[in-house]
Every structure is written in structure tokens, then in C-alpha cells.
Symmetry: C2
């Protein structure tokens, strides 16, 4: 049997890791051959087997008639899109780890792959260390999914774990994550929830058969949490985790959200620590299943890219079909703000008589009733404000937001509002 011929676009950490696996892994070597590599800078020395073609011209690599499958490991969106599009147009299978590319251009690329009758593998794009894409596409393909909830960003989970276990401040935990290489020098993409929202778009396409554009997903990050929120949550029996959640609501819609959530300590995702990721799926036949592992990193990413490549080599790669969720764009997707949820609210308020009555009154006017109130005995901050921590009974998010907007007119400090999830 002749080997499947691979062209690799990009030789950064991930591309180089994959090239090494392709050359050294015995299972890979039996069925795959790395023919050529696309790089930006031809002058750099490259550790590649003798005879590997190295080029900086995409067309040379991608349109080579002998090439069966192109791996996109460039990162970014624009140049990655150009390479993937031309590979698909040339009738090549494509394998990518690029979540941004799929979250932005997935619908176009999957439509093109479908038209050309080729496969587009993306196991490595979400939680590279966990075979969650494959599981949703294969093991659960005849299941009706009720919800997908995941800790899909290792950076934020590392920070939240340190805040919880070491009582670190957000700033200290972030600095430690940066020192250990779990957070970028500019961490905003991760801590804002944007990374998790891209992954939510991809997971939701698989689980619910519709493409929910990332910029329409209600997204909040972790940078406004402080150690008091984490310790207060602990005291109440909860852990704060950044959760990407897509759930079928009572009216049959799908609600997608990325936000820090208070999870009960017994919740399967509550014990996922440090840089680990996990995805919890609820489906009709299997019930709850949990998949957990390292979120990212060059080694897991290369392994997942390789698994997709071996599917191509063994003729087992799933072709893009009409039911592919990326092909069904949910244009008028709106968050459902009428569902009943419980909330944790941390306000900064003046240390004056009547403030609590005012807050409770505004919330009550919107039908939001309080389950607990905590005004810890602390000195007021530079602006004369003290924390006021509330939890609510079940309430509609929309009405809670209206109440908070009303309170916001007072010009007090920012508020933290987190959903409380019960198991």
C-alpha cells in the first residue's frame, strides 16, 4: 500500500512537533510520508529528514499533485485561510489545529470541503489533549445532546485554581501563570473568555448542528474577579470555573455562554485543576460523560493532528456532510435571558445607611429575591466603597440585568455577577 503524502504548512512549535512525530512514530511511519514543508523564512536551519522539500511558496506545497493531505499549522486567520482554501480547492484533505480559523471561517471552509468531497480534520483545535471532537462526531453521533459544558481554557483554569487553593490575588496568579508559560505576556485573549468562545462555537456546531458565531456568544472573562469572590464562593460550597456552556433550553432553543460560574464542589468539573481541561456532555442515551486531559501544548496538539492524519491515511476521515453544523449558520441567535437561574452578585457600595435597602428594593422591583446577604466588616476602599455580596433565588437574567442597570446609575463601583449552578 502506498503511503499517504503529507504537506505541512508552518514549522513553529506545533509544526515541528508534528514533523518529529511523522518521522519517529512507528504507527505514523507505516502509513504517512512527510513530503514538503511551507515556511516563512528559508534561511533558518530546520531539523527535517533528508529529502524533505522546504519552500516558502504556498502553491508549490499545496498544489503538488502528489500531496494527499495538507496540515495547516501556521496559526492566525488570514494566511491560514489562504492555505486551507487553496488546499481544499486543489482537492486535498486538510487537518488543522486552528480554532480561530474555524470559528471565523468555518462555514466557508466546510462548504468548500463538502463541495470538493474531502475531509477537514480539527481534533487539535479544541482541548487538544482530549479527543472530544472525535467523540462528538463518532461515538455520540446518533445521540441527542442536551448540554455540553467545558473548562476549555487552561490559562484561566490555572489562574482560578491558584486563586482558590493558594488564596492568591488575580494579579499574582496571572503573573505565576505567565512565569510558568501557561499565560501569554498579553493574556487578554485567554482571560477575556475569547479563546473559550471560539471553542464554544466549534463544540456547539458539533453538538447542536448549528454554527453560533463567536461574537454573538455572551462572553465574560475572569479579570474582574478578586480573591474575595473565590474565597466567598468556597465558603458557600462552590468553586468558580470559567465554563463554556451550550444547553438546550425548555423552549427547544440552544443557549450558549462563556462565563465564570459557581459550581458546587461535587460537580464533575469542579475538581478539574490547574492547566487541565474537561468537557461534560449530557446526552439522551449515555447520560453524563466526562472527558478530561491537558488542554493544549505542543505534544498533545501534535498527537491530535496525527490522529486526524491517520484517519485520512486509513480512508476513515469523515467527509463533510450536509448535516455538518458549520454549514448551518444561526443568524438570528440571541441569548435566552428568560431562563431561571440563581446568581452570585458582588457589588461595591458606599458604607452608608439605606444602601442595602435601596439595593434590595431595586432587585425586588424586578422580581429578583435574595437568598443570602453578606456585608463583611472591612474598611472602605479609596473611593469609600465596601463590598456587598448577595445570592439570589431563581431569577431571569434579563430582569436581573435591568435591576443592575438601575443600580449602575448610582455611580458605585463595578459589579460582578456570576451564575450559580446546581448539580
Amino acid at each position: 500500500m502506498s503511503k499517504t503524502v503529507v504537506a505541512l504548512a508552518g514549522l513553529g512549535t506545533i509544526g515541528a512537533g508534528l514533523a518529529k512525530l511523522l518521522c519517529e512514530n512507528p504507527a505514523a511511519g507505516k502509513v504517512l510520508r512527510l513530503k514538503s514543508v511551507l515556511v516563512r523564512d528559508l534561511s533558518k536551519p530546520r531539523a527535517l529528514p533528508h529529502g524533505t522539500i522546504v519552500s516558502n511558496k504556498a502553491s508549490e506545497i499545496v498544489e503538488d499533485p502528489e500531496v494527499d493531505v495538507v496540515v495547516e499549522a501556521l496559526g492566525g486567520v488570514e494566511s491560514a485561510f489562504a492555505v486551507v482554501e487553496s488546499a481544499l480547492k486543489a482537492g486535498k484533505h486538510v487537518v488543522t489545529a486552528n480554532k480561530n480559523l474555524l470559528a471565523e471561517k468555518g462555514p466557508e471552509l466546510f462548504a468548500l470541503a463538502r463541495q470538493k468531497g474531502v475531509s477537514l480534520g480539527f481534533e487539535a483545535s479544541v482541548c487538544a489533549g482530549i479527543p472530544i471532537i472525535r467523540t462528538l462526531r463518532e461515538a455520540l453521533r446518533a445521540e441527542t445532546i442536551l448540554s455540553v459544558e467545558g473548562i476549555v481554557n487552561g490559562t484561566t483554569n490555572y489562574i482560578l485554581t491558584r486563586m482558590s487553593e493558594n488564596a492568591s490575588s488575580y494579579t499574582d496568579a496571572l503573573r505565576e501563570a505567565q512565569e510558568k508559560g501557561y499565560a501569554e505576556p498579553d493574556p487578554s485573549y485567554d482571560v477575556s473568555g475569547k479563546d473559550a468562545a471560539c471553542k464554544a462555537t466549534i463544540l456547539t456546531s458539533l453538538a447542536f448542528g448549528h454554527f453560533f458565531p463567536t461574537d454573538r456568544i455572551r462572553t465574560s472573562g475572569i479579570s474582574n474577579l478578586d480573591s474575595q469572590d473565590v474565597s466567598q464562593a468556597e465558603a458557600m460550597g462552590y468553586r468558580i470555573k470559567l465554563i463554556a456552556a451550550a444547553r438546550r433550553t425548555k423552549n427547544g432553543q440552544v443557549d450558549v455562554e462563556v462565563a465564570p460560574v459557581l459550581l458546587p464542589k461535587e460537580h464533575p468539573l469542579a475538581s478539574v485543576r490547574l492547566e487541565y481541561n474537561a468537557v461534560l456532555v449530557d446526552s439522551t442515551g449515555l447520560g453524563l460523560t466526562l472527558y478530561s486531559g491537558k488542554g493544549a501544548g505542543p505534544a498533545p496538539t501534535a498527537v491530535s493532528l496525527l490522529a486526524d492524519l491517520m484517519d485520512v491515511a486509513q480512508g476513515r476521515a469523515l467527509l463533510v456532510e450536509e448535516e455538518n453544523g458549520f454549514l448551518h449558520r444561526q443568524e438570528n441567535f440571541e441569548c435566552d435571558r428568560t431562563q431561571l437561574e440563581r446568581f452570585y452578585i458582588h457589588l461595591s457600595v458606599p458604607d452608608l445607611p439605606g444602601v442595602l435597602a435601596k439595593v434590595a428594593g431595586v432587585l425586588a422591583a424586578q422580581g429578583v429575591s435574595l437568598a443570602s446577604v453578606l456585608q463583611p466588616e472591612v474598611k472602605s476602599d479609596a473611593e469609600g466603597l465596601v463590598p456587598l455580596i448577595l445570592t439570589t433565588h431563581q431569577a431571569q437574567r434579563g430582569r436581573l440585568d435591568a435591576a443592575l442597570a438601575e443600580l449602575g446609575k448610582e455611580g458605585w463601583g463595578k459589579g460582578v455577577v456570576l451564575r450559580i449552578q446546581d448539580v
Copy 2:
């Protein structure tokens, strides 16, 4: 595209559940058609779609030239073997949930499937609610596996959870499990560890490429544990779980064991509760990955059988290859008793001076040194014996067993010996 034609052998709970899915699931209905069913008793009424052939003659069903794939849902070994063997001989693909069949006859059946160039799907045979077979065969197929450890028996996990969380005795927890349908009226197959050992044979074949016969796997069950063991383990920061473990040892061998183990509470398997199962895999590229879900039950089993059937229908079922672990029987497999481990020991000893000195002396003579000693202040039992609970520093199992054999000559009560695992 013509649909893949299915014959179903066995219409018990699982067979009937699958038949229902085949008729009602839209994804299944697109690619699969249930043609015929093999039953024992033709006179029973059956809820099957009009036109389904019902027969009590295996050859009619299995050798039907129109049938593409046979599902074995008979249970047991002998009649299941006959049906699967004749189906494979007739060149049909086979899908089964039968762990006993594979643990006993796997080598013969996979050899036959390989010879005939057909697939033998068995996702439902181990932890039916978790796609672990598929994960090991596909996502991790280019990985070098270092260890596979699992809670693979829901009955024993339910009993141990109740003993731990409710301080129930073994007898009470077993009775409750029986009342809830998690344990059979005769629970011996589960509580002895035999069920877990069959699953260990199957998982090990996939993970390590060799078939370790079930009867050669060192197996111990949970029926000699009492509530004192569970509470004492808790007090030391551990939970007792029945673990099926296959690990590559320092000398490159694979050690396979089924036994109750003391896991630290932070261990990923320690928080798997009640009837849930979980498998923790350590591999070179991905590191630790955890897969968790419901162990068994008709619905998960039917879903897993269906996923295998859809692989056949989509031409994606993995053919049996030369590397298939079932084809490489590990004839001279011996447990490695020289590895260093820590142990928990619960002895029943006379409440007399000098006994502790004797025990410690015999252990010391075998190089087993004690980490902790607990002789709780309790009344002696009917035979005048009191509990003595010890933990050891790292010791060789072989030498510990020699010491315990020496102590056994004293004719004291039975001893419980459990491995203590550190994360």
C-alpha cells in the same frame, strides 16, 4: 446508497433496546436496516417493525447473504461464540457487547475476523457508557501507553461509595445495591473482581498489544472489606476503589491487576461515585486523560452498539490487523511481585502482649518497614481477636506476601492487604 443490513442475535433487554434505536433513531435509520432477529422462544410477542424476520434458527439469520453485519446480544459464552464464529465465517462484520466472550475467546475470534477481512466491534463490551475502546483504538493509536487504570465495575463502585459516604457495612451496601438493581441477586461475579478482570483483559489488549488471559490476572474483590477499612482509609486521606490497572513496569513488562486500592482523595479516580465508571490513561504525548460515564445499563450499551454499527455502515469500521493485541497471547505472563509499593494491612490478632512485636518482627525480617500502626481500642470479637491496622513504607509485594504467610501460620483471622497509590 443502499442501507447496511443488520441481523440481531438476541432480543433481551439490550437487544430490544438496540432494535428500538434502529427503528427510531434518525441517524441510524438513514444508513442501517434491521432485517432479522434471532430469538430462543418464537411464541413470545415482540415489538418489532412489520416485516422483520424473527427466527430461532441461527443459520437462517447469520448466513443470510443479504445481511452485512450481525449483532451478538445473546450473552453467555457458548451460544454467543457459535453465532459470532459462524457470522465471521460467512464473511459478516460482527458487533458485540459481550466481555466474557472476548475475554475467553477473543484470540480465536479476532484471528478469524482477520482471516476473513471483516471487523469485530466491541465498544459496548467495556464501560458501555464511555467510548473508551474507540478512544484507545483511534485517538491514542499512535501513542505509547504507560498505564491504564479504571473503575470498570459499577456494582462494586456503588457499594464502596455507600460504605464511604454513608458508613454502611458491606452487607448493607450490597443489599441496597441489589434493591436498586445495581447488583445481581448472586453478586459474586462483580464483587469478586471477575467482571473487572475480563474488562482488564480487553483494555490491556488494546493498550499494550498483548492478550493477558483473565485467569492469569491477579484479582481480588471487595467482599472481605469492612466499614472499618473504608473509614480508616478516609481518615488517612484515601478512598478505597476497585481498580483494574495495567502498567508498564520499569523493566518494560506490563503488570496487570484487579484489586481494591487506596487512592488519595485528589486522585482523578477517587471522585468517581456510585454506579459511574472511569478510565484514566497515561500516554507519552497526551499525558493523563480521563474518560468517565455510566458503566453499563441497556441505554448506554445500545448507544455503543449503534456507534459500532454506524462505523460499519459508513465503511469506517477498523479491520482486524496483525497488530491487534488479541492476536498476541501473553502465555507466560506472571505478575511482577518485585515492584516497590506501599501497603495497607488490616490483621485480626489476639489482644495479647507481644503480638505487635511479633508482627513487626516478621515484617521486618522480609524488609517490610512500617509507616504507621493503629490498634484501635475495641472489644475483641467472638474469636478473641482485635483489629491491627498497619501501613508500610515501600516494599515488594512478594516479600510482604511471604511475611503474611508466616503470620498466617499463627491461625489468626484473615488479613486485608491493599495497595496504597500515591498520585
